[in-house]
Symmetry: none
Subunit: 206 residues, 4 copies
């Protein structure tokens, strides 16, 4: 399954105590601080206080702020969007786009994305997080696109990655670069535009 040990990254061997619980409290606190204040104004000490543990513990386990935030974001990114493959490519794309929009519409989602974009350059950890996140997304739509191709609804050489990119791009762009709110209309338009481009044979491999 996709089940991951709760204990993923740092529950090394045998905890002398409350390892896993501490970990989850801290990661939750990181996200909360990120949302409230953004990466720049998030402090390790603030996280520790919010989590009700001591800052030394954080430094012991995560070493520095960057790795701490990276793991928190990785964790958050793990909460994956449920996407179904109904066979109706238009509806499925719309569903996907709306899911993305919904995520980014929350204060939490928006803050997470901003934190990642802001810190990814220069942080191998975060780059890896993002990489993994998008790989997961691609894995999700791959089958949907392939089914659509099988049903001749999309050109045979259509690249699922590109479709994903063209669906997501306008949504992320609107979040990051404009002050317009994200609505369902935003999502639907993005989905429709991506499919139109795909049908026109623009979103192919290579």
């Amino acid at each position: 399954m996709l089940q991951r040990k709760v204990d993923g990254v740092s529950g090394t061997t045998r905890p002398g105590g409350r390892t896993a619980e501490t970990r989850s409290k801290v990661l939750a606190a990181v996200l909360a601080e990120l949302i409230d204040s953004g990466y720049g104004r998030t402090s390790v000490e603030g996280v520790a206080e919010r989590a009700g543990i001591h800052k030394t513990t954080i430094y012991r386990r995560w070493g520095n702020k960057e790795r701490l935030v990276a793991e928190a974001l990785e964790n958050a990114a793990d909460v994956r969007t449920e996407v179904v493959d109904t066979g109706d490519i238009d509806a499925d794309m719309r569903t996907l786009a709306r899911a993305v929009t919904a995520t980014l519409s929350t204060h939490e989602g928006a803050a997470t994305v901003r934190a990642i974009v802001a810190e990814a350059p220069g942080s191998p950890q975060l780059a890896a997080v993002m990489s993994g996140f998008w790989a997961a997304r691609r894995a999700q739509i791959g089958p949907i696109i392939e089914h659509a191709i099988a049903r001749k609804q999309l050109p045979a050489t259509t690249d699922p990655s590109e479709v994903m990119k063209y669906v997501a791009a306008p949504i992320y762009y609107q979040l990051l670069m404009s002050d317009e709110p994200l609505t369902e209309a935003t999502a639907d338009r993005a989905a429709a535009a991506a499919l139109t481009a795909a049908r026109a044979g623009l979103l192919t491999h290579g």
Copy 2:
């Protein structure tokens, strides 16, 4: 005329002496630091040193790091993309997309965008910078789209802002969210996809 107007955006009051020169040295230094190190690792003291002036001077004129960076970026964004209206909507869009791609392909352009995206939330100054930047872009393509509409190459209700957004989105997205390089193919595909969506009547007002 002989009027020089070195003093573009914020020629505060009246350059009593070396004001303007100091200003441009500082702003250049800010950009350089931003490019070298990113926003987080750019320090006012580093900027001062690089500019060969004293940090007090910076604080006197810009007050804080955020306003300093905001003005530097505003200044940088002023270097505007030359876009021509040849009447061939496909070619013109491709030219526009390539110009955007070219800008973001430079180390400087990429760093600038990242700095803006990272700091815009929470910084009214930067939000305004970004706002103005996109207004300028929209002003550029407005006439092109209108001409295309006049020639019936695009639906009458096509929204130039949306077209701009759909051209730019995949390019910015690729810069910020993936590690694929920006190429001319990226630009051409973005331009084609945006036009396809526009022709399909998806990029209309409202």
Copy 3:
């Protein structure tokens, strides 16, 4: 004269601020903490708080705890014992011994000595402080001994340094190695014993 610039060690050039006052507040606070708690339990943060200034200021000026304490002790050691040369060698030695005893009998004097002895090994700064302190002491009794020699009260080859050492040794020893209190009797006995040894020709050069 023996007058030293108030500003001795760190009044570098000509400060843009309140340098000298800060310095004296800090050094006084160091001594106070040393007396209250001993070297081991004296913290830079505590000193800063007591001095009413910020710890960063201390680190900026003294670099680390060791140098801070060294300078404070150097400063304290400067408060010199007044010793007079009456011509009566017995009385003068007794006066000297009593002065030493009086100094070491105060909480402050005892704490200072303990701090120096504890930290001197491994701290060139403190070694230098101690060196200077004893040089000053030797300079004080030098003339007294010479006068006594001139009056044939002491052997011609008597070494003032040795006399000083034999006067001070039992007093310091009693402070550091036993729990007996320092009294005038302690001082008088030390003075008498040193003179007896000197008269016996034991405290000579080489």
Copy 4:
């Protein structure tokens, strides 16, 4: 019988394990660290590592750093100076002084003394160690002095403790307060001076 008696030094209570060996390894490590680094820079963790055991074990047995060091020093002080009573008070005192000098001349002896002096105030444990150490020394010279008194070589009221003090004081003083090396001449002079003072009736009870 089958009794093994692994338990050399202090067969604490009931060894469920390898008690005695651990103890001696730890105490040796403490001394070594003390010698290498002084009290301030000696860490329990460092001691544990050097002893090849775990720091928890140390805390279990000694509770804290102070008690650990106290016991190590107590142990070290136990190695007692052999002093003989030949009947020749001058020679015996010289032997005693040379023994003291020899001990303090070693890196180990010097470090031990410094550690004790530095930490004794505020540490009842160490005060007790020192107290015991000097009691042992007094016990050693008591008979020698008494024999000398019996032979009328010293005044009847001579206090052995005072004689010990006046022999040791210049030696300790030189170690702690100056940078002159300890030599046999140092020892001989100290012995001679103490005896001179004693013969002059200065080192009496009360």
